[in-house]
């Protein structure tokens, strides 16, 4: 004998008005018959009968306001049933009295069966677990160092991983026949064939979703975005499908996928093609975000990214593609994701940067060192998980921090670093943290304006002078 309860009709409803009864006592109802109208703050809704039966009693008069959800409002007797004794009605009663019919759902409120999620205070929970990255592996003694461009380093990383694992494939615009819009995929088609080096139509949203689906099925796609600007068309698939999948499946389905391509400002290409997405993607739990500067890091970290079981956003930089560096000549040079690199040790001031920002920071450091400032320069390399330990240890030593990035200031990587330092090394600071960032404007086209919008070596020097009270 079901008792009809005041239903919850929306995620936020707590009570409503029983505005109208459409049945009276003694009526015979069938499943789907409308019993009453309920008015909430949002809408008027109908309550339907679930089972056939006879309306034996209406417990709440029509027009009653503020009827709490789960209050018994009527009783309907099934075939051959007789009215039982109605329990005393509490105004905020949850559940109703009818043991024996539908199991625990109609049982009186008690214990687990009747407690809604928000009624319980959440248990206290420890802080987020800390990710600890390994140090870079020691290079074999006497290893040959080969000079190569970042472009070659990225190309070698992909080729090596594709040789190693046939589940790895590359997909994107112009990656195959054209040999890559920026030649990062040069010769991959020749070596691996069109099954594994796949030109797509210009369809970022679609091919990104397709690649994420292939990753759910166990493949290891490398998605090349011609530039990260175009990935905004696909950002839903990157965040909602790839980054959140493991969590919302309770650990069952994961997406081993690398999204890569040039990020940030190129040169004279205007507002829509000049943007730094570092802070955007580093905001997202579930993503790993890598932004290398040197050729060696580009190679070692891209190989690590391709092997990772997680979705990786790998932010390259067009201007850095042609820059050269020394890369160890090894069969398998893989670097740990999540570990910053101390590019120069020093005692006076810490400069933290990544990707293209490292170019400004490195040039500034050279000038500052020759002017007698002992700079410690840190290349983050990975933005999420961010290697706070290395930064904090450095700031505890130097007492001063300058951050350098091309992105916009609000909610940027520098803002995050400043907060972490305030949180964990406030007492060690001898000066406020200073940020050097791109200007807070869309990127202009005119050469002089573009120059003004970008950070400069002199900005870094000025910031260091300020925090060291030299200016």
């Amino acid at each position: 004998m079901p008792t009809i309860l005041m239903p919850a009709l929306s995620p936020t409803m707590e009570e409503g008005k029983l505005s109208k009864w459409l049945v009276k006592e003694g009526d015979i109802v069938s499943p789907g018959d409308v019993l009453a109208e309920i008015e909430t703050d949002k809408a008027t809704m109908e309550i339907e009968a679930i089972d056939a039966g006879t309306v034996s009693k209406l417990l709440i008069a029509e027009g009653t306001e503020g009827v709490k959800i789960n209050t018994a409002i009527a009783m309907v007797l099934g075939e051959g049933e007789t009215p039982g004794e109605l329990p005393p009605q509490a105004p905020d009663q949850i559940g109703s009295a009818d043991p024996g019919d539908e199991g625990p759902l109609n049982a009186p409120a008690q214990g687990e069966t009747s407690v809604t999620a928000e009624a319980k205070a959440p248990a206290p929970v420890a802080a987020a677990p800390k990710s600890v990255a390994e140090a870079d592996p020691d290079l074999p003694e006497g290893v040959e160092m080969v000079e190569m461009t970042v472009r070659q380093a990225l190309n070698e990383a992909m080729a090596e991983e594709m040789r190693r694992d046939k589940d790895v494939f590359i997909i994107g615009e112009e990656v195959a026949e054209y040999q890559g819009a920026y030649k990062i995929t040069q010769n991959l088609l020749q070596e691996f064939g069109p099954q594994r080096v796949i030109d797509t139509p210009i369809t970022e949203h679609g091919f990104t979703g397709l690649a994420v689906g292939a990753a759910f099925a166990g493949l290891k796609p490398i998605v090349e975005f011609m530039t990260w600007n175009f990935a905004m068309q696909a950002i839903d698939q990157i965040i909602n499908s790839a980054a959140k999948q493991l969590y919302m499946s309770g650990g069952q389905v994961h997406a081993p996928i690398v999204f890569r391509g040039p990020n940030g400002v190129a040169s004279r290409v205007g507002a829509q093609h000049s943007q730094d997405y570092s802070a955007w993607y580093s905001h997202i739990p579930g993503l790993t975000v890598v932004a290398p500067y040197s050729a060696a890091d580009a190679k070692g970290l891209l190989k690590a990214a391709i092997r990772s079981p997680n979705p990786i956003v790998f932010l390259e930089n067009e201007i850095l593609y042609g820059s050269t560096g020394l890369v160890p000549k090894m069969d398998d040079f893989v670097l740990p994701i999540g570990k910053a690199r101390i590019a120069r040790q020093g005692a006076d001031v810490t400069i933290v940067s990544f990707s293209m920002g490292m170019r400004y920071a490195t040039q500034a450091t050279e000038k500052l060192v020759s002017a007698g400032v002992d700079v410690e320069l840190i290349d983050l390399r990975t933005l999420r998980p961010m290697d706070s330990d290395t930064v904090i240890a450095s700031v505890k030593k130097t007492g001063r921090l300058v951050t350098v990035e091309e992105g916009w200031p609000q909610g940027g990587i520098g803002a995050e670093l400043a907060m972490r330092v305030m949180d964990q090394a406030f007492d060690f600071l001898d000066a406020p943290v200073m940020r050097v960032t791109g200007k807070d404007v869309p990127m202009p086209y005119a050469a002089n304006l573009e120059k003004l919008a970008l950070p400069h070596v002199d900005d870094v020097i000025a910031a260091v002078n300020a925090v060291t009270y030299r200016s």
Binding site: N70, P122, F216, G286
Partner: protein, 335 residues
């Protein structure tokens, strides 16, 4: 009160075997009773957030799944409970996910719209309208890449059929001859907007025409027709001919979600579908007419289904919430 849908023998309607009729009846009834229970539990505040019920559309997923073989993958949007039940996922796990408990299929961390099973090759449970279409196309890509003989079934609604990424996926699926069947569950309303008010062309089976993808409209209330069309479509995809579109003409009896006031359609329309087209009543009438069962034997199936649903509801209300430590798990895979 028994309804009397016509069980008329129309020529060209393929007849199901006794086993198929009984399987279809049981599967659809399980969805119906499960969803009714979920609706009740939502009303009691035991299920939170959004809850989209499949009531009325049962024949679609039931008929299609009857045409699949082991290893075929399925993916859908947020109206996903029925798909999981038919694919054999544990009803207790589904219901416990609805109530946000540790025994839910996603440990309570996904909810109604986010459940998955690698084992059964069910890939959700996707909350962003249309996103499952490229994802499902990617499942087909993986099958082809690996030389597997499996097919991907990607379900979406008449609402999602207007999302741009659907056509991006269509293009690549045809271009690369991927083994995917697109199933458009056209229940006439995208939330509260009727297809006529949202779509410049309303025959959605033609939506693949400019890519050369064949499509057909199917009476999605008749499980026989659903099965027959699905066998054709799946065979097309499995044999290497590329994608196929099935537009399933169906109807949801309930609102878009639990908080839907249903002001956009008439009560008569709903009543008419329930009385004349109900997929379960159609099967039931045939089973009795063809003497595959009696009122009594069907009542026994009903009792069995109710017991499964009650057991699921019992589990979903007694099972504990996830441990607080679960907050921090499953964010990334430990490398």
């Amino acid at each position: 009160m028994a309804r009397k849908p016509a069980a008329v023998a129309v020529p060209n309607i393929p007849e199901l075997t006794e086993a198929q009729e009984l399987q279809a009846y049981r599967s659809m009834l399980l969805i119906r009773r499960f969803e009714e229970k979920a609706g009740q539990m939502y009303g009691m505040g035991l299920i939170g957030g959004f809850c989209h019920l499949y009531i009325g559309q049962e024949a679609v997923v039931t008929g299609i799944t009857m045409a699949t073989i082991e290893g075929d993958a399925q993916i859908t949007g947020y109206r996903d409970h029925g798909h999981m039940l038919v694919m054999g996922l544990d009803p207790k796990g589904v219901m416990a996910e609805l109530t946000g408990r540790s025994g839910g299929l996603s440990k309570g961390k996904g909810g109604s719209m986010h459940m998955f099973s690698n084992e059964h090759r069910f890939y959700g449970g996707n909350g962003i309208v249309g996103a499952q279409v490229p994802l499902g196309t990617g499942l087909a890509f993986a099958a082809k890449y690996r030389g597997e003989n499996t097919v991907s079934l990607a379900y979406f609604g008449d609402g999602a059929a207007n999302q741009g990424q659907v056509y991006e996926a269509f293009n690549m699926a045809k271009l690369w001859s991927l083994p995917v069947v697109y199933i458009i569950e056209n229940n006439k309303y995208a939330m509260g907007t009727s297809i006529e008010r949202a779509s410049a062309t309303t025959d959605l089976s033609l939506r693949g025409a400019s890519f050369g993808i064949p499509g057909e409209q199917v009476d999605g209330m008749d499980v026989r027709l659903v099965l027959e069309a699905s066998e054709r479509a799946i065979e097309h995809a499995r044999s290497g001919k590329g994608p196929y579109i099935l537009e399933m003409l169906t109807y949801r009896y309930r609102g878009h979600s639990m908080s839907d006031p249903a002001k956009y359609r008439s009560k008569d329309e709903v009543t008419k579908y329930r009385a004349e087209r109900d997929p379960i009543e159609q099967v039931k009438a045939r089973i009795i007419e063809r003497q595959f069962g009696t009122e009594e034997s069907l009542k026994a199936i009903e009792a069995e289904v109710r017991a499964i649903v009650n057991e699921a509801a019992d589990f979903a209300t007694s099972n504990p919430e996830p441990e607080a430590s679960e907050l921090w798990t499953d964010i990334t895979v430990a490398a």
